[in-house]
């Protein structure tokens, strides 16, 4: 039975309301199911409540909270959650740290085409990973059944 595929659930985190709003609208327009969070606290709430397909997170959030912390927090619940870090600070340190944590970095101002292709690619890889996990689980049950 082909499972009805729901719209991918994407959490967008940015402390700038207008930026957050435009990201959410673009994602909606492109047929995703975005959920927006204006702060890390709000993001954590969403992460705790919902299962996500992708996390888009600004690096510098309110006060001293960073995007890395939010991603780290989300991966404690969903270890293989694809995450993209959005930032205006294009430094070597950030790039290295992101690469270590399998986080894709997009430097602002972000080219929207690149933004969309990156999201699509991340979703696909996350989906493939999930399927692989499910198949291995299903395989086990088949053997059992």
């Amino acid at each position: 039975m082909k499972r009805a595929s729901p719209k991918p659930r994407i959490l967008v985190v940015d402390d700038e309301p207008s930026v957050l709003a435009t990201y959410r609208m673009i994602l909606q327009q492109k047929g995703y199911d975005p959920v927006a969070a204006i702060s890390s606290a709000e993001a954590r709430g969403v992460i705790e409540r919902e299962r996500l397909d992708l996390l888009l997170c600004d690096l510098s959030l309110e006060e001293k909270n960073t995007g890395f912390e939010v991603i780290e927090y989300a991966r404690r619940i969903q270890p293989s959650l694809p995450s993209v870090l959005l930032t205006g600070y294009a430094t070597k340190d950030i790039a290295e740290k992101a690469a270590q944590n399998r986080i894709v970095v997009l430097f602002k101002p972000i080219d929207i085409e690149e933004f969309l292709t990156t999201i699509a690619a991340q979703l696909r890889s996350g989906h493939e990973q999930q399927q692989a996990q499910e198949e291995s689980r299903g395989g086990k049950s088949a053997i059992v059944s």
Partner: protein
């Protein structure tokens, strides 16, 4: 002296027998005959004839030569040669009886030595006279030899018979008469008287002859003197008491005597010369003390004016009266001219010496004020000269080593080592570092020793001059430069940070605007479409500028020494993927480099801007070369690090080449911000470097960056 003729003549005389003669007549006759003799030599033969006339058989005379002491026959009558020769003897033969008689100066009869065993009458005669000679008479003196011999006041040896007044040398002779033994006392007295008379006449004649001889001698002397005078090249003039010219030589005649063919001018010249001369003589005679004076005379033949120094000496008579003057003129024209020349040369020499002295003083002043220690060493690398500053560093060689500062000794040792190396090297010039301790401040000072060789005319090293340049000040300036440069870099970084902050602040609203524009793209009516395009393009442009400015914000690292090679390696590694993807082959040739001073991040930005530009210019692929090289400066202190970045891309159009480093100039059209190379240039200039570009459209572009090396 008797000649043979005389003897023959005498023999021919007829001599009446002794008994027939009358004594008085004979004597008078004999006296007259003797008186007739004009010369001394004529006396002896006459005397001998008269002796024979007195009745004596024979007689002879012996002459005495005072020079040789020889006593030899001078005249003889009725004597055989053999008889004559037996009397030949010498004044010094004391044993000879005749010689004894001569010394006694008294007549004597010597028995048995005459002819046929006869006795011999021996009568010595010597110059003597009752009257004073003329000179003695004139000088009122009584010690005339003639008188002395006559009066027998002073007994003189025969050898010393010389007149103290007239210098006349006396004669001496001996008359020998053979006696038959029949002579009476009267005969003997007659004989003696006869000989005495003959001697008196002989003395007179002899004196006259002496004066004649003296006159002859004087004439010879005068001739000689005249010859001497004439042969003198200088004019010599003899004048009398009235300054009238008595005698002058040829050289003087040239000035004072009218020549044969005379022109009026010459006459006047001679007259003037004479006038001047007598005036000079008069004034010198009057002054008495002056013996020389300068006199300008005109040469009567050449018409040339000549300068003389006239030296006068008065002449005196025997009585001490002034009889005239002898003037010798010395031509000093040439001498004066030479003197003037010498004087002029001396002046020139003095002037030259003055110039040399001034030069030396100036040089000394320069050396003293150079402010750097200067040392001069010889061919053996031994220090021969040092200025006060060098003296301070090394001390004097002459100083006692015990009191010499050990620091100075050490400095000296270092200097000696350096000098020896240089002096015996083949190079003319050399410079090298010399680290010395300052004896007073006790700090190490780095000197740059610069040396040059001075060669002698044989091309061998004569001296080496070494100037020590204190590099402390230079180093300080260098340090200041570095510090200022760092400040500039820091300022640039600060500006970058500010720009970055602004860009970041602009970035978020930009993000929203960009997203909003994207969202609007579907909801456009036809009219709004071109407006939308402008909005979209301009927003993208602002986005690019912001991105560029955000890049500057990354420069937060420390400023210090930078290894340019590793900056290049980092950058190349960062872009290697992209380059590979664009089909660009990477070629890096990195040589060993000294460190540069500056910001590694800023230099990384330079590199990445240039690499990105190169990549963008090679859309169809190509080759990117990055090469580094160390260019040492000739002085060994500074130098450059050269970084060459060459691509084989599209190149820069010629019209843009000059303005490529200005802001907002780009070859990438809409895609470029025109800020990349401007930032590159700013960074390089802040690092005190220089950047140059060479490009050919279609062939490629080469950027050459030089960064200063700081030691």
């Amino acid at each position: 002296m008797a000649t043979p003729e005389m003897r023959v003549q005498a023999k021919m005389e007829r001599v009446p027998p002794r008994g027939e003669r009358k004594p008085g007549t004979l004597r008078r006759q004999a006296t007259l005959r003797l008186l007739a003799a004009e010369r001394s030599v004529e006396i002896y033969p006459v005397l001998l004839e008269e002796i024979v006339a007195l009745g004596f058989p024979r007689g002879l005379t012996l002459g005495i030569d005072f020079e040789t002491g020889e006593v030899a026959p001078s005249a003889a009558l009725n004597c055989t040669r053999k008889f004559q020769q037996q009397f030949r003897t010498s004044l010094y033969a004391a044993e000879d009886p005749i010689v004894g008689v001569v010394h006694s100066e008294e007549p004597a009869v010597l028995p048995g030595i005459g002819a046929e065993g006869h006795s011999l009458y021996v009568h010595p005669i010597v110059y003597r006279n009752r009257n004073l000679c003329w000179e003695a008479d004139r000088d009122h003196r009584t010690d005339c030899l003639a008188i002395e011999n006559y009066r027998r006041t002073r007994k003189l040896q025969l050898q010393d018979q010389v007149c103290s007044i007239c210098d006349m040398r006396a004669y001496a002779a001996v008359v020998l008469v053979d006696l038959t033994g029949n002579e009476t006392e009267r005969d003997m007295m007659d004989l003696r008287a006869l000989i005495e008379i003959a001697n008196r006449y002989l003395s007179r004649i002899f004196r006259t002859e002496h004066h004649y001889n003296r006159m002859t001698d004087m004439e010879i002397t005068i001739r000689q003197m005249q010859t001497v005078m004439q042969s003198m090249a200088d004019p010599v003039i003899l004048t009398d008491a009235h300054h009238r010219v008595i005698m002058q030589n040829k050289a003087a005649e040239r000035f004072f005597k009218l020549p044969e063919e005379v022109s009026e001018g010459r006459v006047r010249a001679v007259e003037l010369n004479n006038l001047l001369f007598s005036a000079a003589l008069s004034s010198m005679a009057v002054s008495g003390t002056e013996t020389s004076r300068d006199l300008t005379l005109v040469d009567a033949i050449e018409g040339e004016e000549m300068l003389f120094e006239a030296v006068c000496a008065p002449t005196y008579s025997r009585e001490g009266l002034r009889t005239g003057m002898v003037t010798v003129m010395r031509d000093v024209t040439d001498l004066r001219r030479a003197d003037e020349e010498v004087r002029a040369n001396l002046e020139k020499l003095r002037a030259a010496e003055e110039v040399v002295r001034q030069d030396r003083d100036r040089l000394n002043l320069i050396i003293e004020n150079v402010g750097d220690p200067i040392v001069v060493s010889d061919r053996a690398a031994k220090v021969v000269l040092q200025d006060p500053l060098a003296h301070e560093l090394f001390g004097a060689e002459a100083e006692n080593d015990e009191v010499r500062d050990p620091i100075r000794v050490r400095n000296q040792a270092k200097l000696d080592a350096y000098l020896t190396t240089f002096t015996f090297s083949f190079s003319d010039r050399e410079s090298g570092p010399l680290r010395l301790f300052h004896p007073i401040s006790r700090t190490e000072i780095e000197y740059d020793a610069r040396s040059g060789k001075i060669y002698d005319e044989r091309g061998q090293v004569a001296f080496c001059v070494t100037v020590l340049r204190d590099l402390t000040a230079l180093r300080k300036v260098e340090q200041l430069k570095v510090e200022r440069r760092m400040l500039e870099i820091e300022k640039f970084a600060a500006t970058g940070r500010l720009a970055g902050t602004i860009a970041h602040e602009v970035n978020n609203p930009m993000e929203a605007i960009k997203n909003a524009i994207y969202l609007l793209s579907d909801k456009l009516t036809g009219e709004a479409s071109p407006i939308y395009d402008i909005l979209k393009n301009e927003t993208e442009r602002v986005a690019r500028i912001v991105r560029q400015m955000l890049g500057l914000y990354r420069n937060t690292d420390q400023i210090g020494t930078v290894d340019v090679n590793s900056v290049i390696e980092d950058t190349v590694l960062l872009f290697s993927r992209q380059l590979e993807r664009n089909g660009i082959r990477m070629n890096t040739e990195l040589s060993k480099l000294p460190p540069a001073v500056g910001s590694a991040d800023q230099l990384r930005q330079v590199l990445s801007n240039l690499v990105v530009n190169a990549k963008d210019s090679m859309q169809e692929g190509g080759r990117l070369t990055v090469r580094t090289k160390h260019l040492p400066a000739p002085d060994g202190i500074h130098g450059w690090i050269r970084v060459l970045i060459a691509d084989t891309g599209s190149g820069i159009p010629e019209n843009l080449l000059l303005s490529i480093f200005e802001p907002f100039v780009t070859t990438k059209g809409e895609k470029g911000t025109g800020l990349g190379l401007w930032i590159v240039k700013g960074i390089i200039e802040n690092h005190a470097g220089r950047i140059r570009v060479r490009s050919k459209p279609g062939r490629g572009t080469v950027f050459k960056i030089d960064l200063p090396v700081v030691r």
